[in-house]
């Protein structure tokens, strides 16, 4: 049975969705505002829709993993960076990610 593009796309999106939080947290070890964060992720091969990115940033901030502040830089921009809790979670998620990668690597051999 031929694999349909649509089927592959859905599975691919599902697979990548889980890694986006990790990617956002990792990228915010340095302070960034939304637009530069999105272009950074895009350049790194992890594109994320703006419609999904901004709500995600708000959610992570509500969970105490990010801090933010408005600053004037040409225009008023909201800058985000990891909070101390966010750094701790990032370390745990990174270890988890590496364990998953190693496990999958063994299975896929």
């Amino acid at each position: 049975m031929p694999i349909e593009d649509d089927q592959f796309d859905k599975l691919r999106i599902e697979l990548r969705r889980g890694s986006l939080v990790l990617a956002v947290l990792a990228a915010l070890r340095e302070e960034r505002y939304g637009y530069t964060l999105r272009t950074l992720l895009d350049d790194a091969g992890l594109p994320i829709e703006e419609g999904a990115l901004y709500p995600l940033l708000r959610r992570l901030e509500t969970q105490g993993l990010l801090t933010s502040e408005w600053r004037e830089e040409g225009r008023n921009k909201r800058f985000y960076r990891l909070s101390p809790d966010g750094e701790a979670i990032l370390a745990l998620l990174q270890a988890e990610w590496e364990a998953i990668g190693a496990s999958l690597g063994r299975l896929l051999k």
Binding site: Y54, P55, K77, R78
Partner: protein, 321 residues
């Protein structure tokens, strides 16, 4: 720029009021940054069509706004299995009651079958819609209250029915519950069936014994409804089922005995019927009702003995399990 402001305004209308301004300010910057980037690439200002395309690419205002809401769904994947299960039970019960009332109106009432069918279909659709709406609202509230987390944590596998348990199918169980409920409501006077009890020359009135036994019959019907509900929803509660079955069987037989002893269950009141014909009718009616009571009693005794037999066979199987 007017288009961007209209777009942001459409988003803002659907955002939580508490931080709408803050979110809109951030989105305004995001759109402006995207347009500036594109203008840098092209080396010229964007046309209004290009700005419209960039905005369209950003997303529909309702979708963009919805993603900022805490609640992303009415009934989520964790609550959904419970919702579907309860909705099925409620809808089957409502459908069975409506059908039972419809059939009752044709059999005992003065409704034409076609008229009763059309009324039942009409009533059925609105009743099902209302029932489903109520169940949906209840589960939407439970979704917000975090219902399933507690239930999933506390459910007990010991309560699962045995593989061999004769759990009634959903239609049979719904029909039993619906008939019990319909009788209870009818007996309590909450709705009436236009049962023909006589003609122009006479009418049949229930004997005083039914008024004397009003409460015992009401309690028995309620207990039987409870038993049917437990059998349907909690078939593993065998002890409770055994007790409710035995109590309702004993209560039912005691009531039948009291009824039998009354010796008179309905009175033919003549409104033009000759006296000797009325007396003959009364004799026939008394005989028919006497036979009905005896046959009902015999059926109940056999059914109770059958239930006791099943229960006694059930125990050793559990003891070895």
């Amino acid at each position: 720029m007017d288009l961007i402001e209209r777009y942001l305004s459409a988003i803002k209308r659907n955002l939580p009021a508490r931080n709408a301004d803050d979110i809109v300010a951030e989105l305004r910057d995001a759109i402006a940054s995207r347009i500036e980037d594109r203008e840098d690439e092209l080396g010229r200002p964007l046309t209004s069509e290009e700005i419209a395309a960039a905005i369209k690419d950003f997303g529909h205002p309702l979708v963009v706004a919805a993603r900022f809401r805490k609640q992303q769904w009415l009934i989520g994947p964790e609550v959904f299995p419970f919702y579907i299960s309860v909705a099925r039970i409620v809808l089957l019960t409502v459908a069975a009651i409506m059908v039972a009332v419809g059939v009752g109106q044709v059999l005992f009432g003065d409704r034409e079958p076609l008229q009763a069918l059309l009324q039942t279909i009409g009533g059925l659709s609105s009743s099902l819609l209302i029932s489903l709406s109520i169940v949906t609202i209840v589960f939407a509230v439970l979704e917000r209250a975090g219902f399933p987390a507690e239930h999933i944590g506390t459910w007990n596998p010991e309560q699962l029915p045995d593989v061999g348990d004769a759990q009634p199918g959903p239609w049979k169980a719904a029909a039993e519950v619906a008939l019990s409920l319909a009788f209870l409501l009818w007996w309590a006077g909450l709705f009436s069936l236009p049962i023909p009890a006589g003609s122009a020359e006479f009418r049949i009135e229930p004997a005083p014994v039914f008024a004397e036994l009003y409460w015992p019959i009401l309690i028995l019907a309620a207990a039987r409804l409870l038993h049917n509900l437990i059998q349907w929803l909690r078939p593993r509660w065998k002890l409770v089922l055994g007790v409710t079955n035995a109590l309702t069987a004993i209560g039912g037989l005691a009531l039948l005995a009291m009824l039998y002893r009354a010796g008179h269950w309905a009175t033919v009141v003549s409104t033009g019927l000759p006296a000797h014909e009325a007396a003959e009718l009364q004799t026939s009616l008394d005989l028919a009702l006497k036979i009905a009571i005896v046959v009902t009693g015999a059926i109940w005794i056999l059914a109770s003995l059958g239930a006791l037999w099943s229960l006694s066979r059930e125990r050793p199987r559990h003891a070895t399990a």
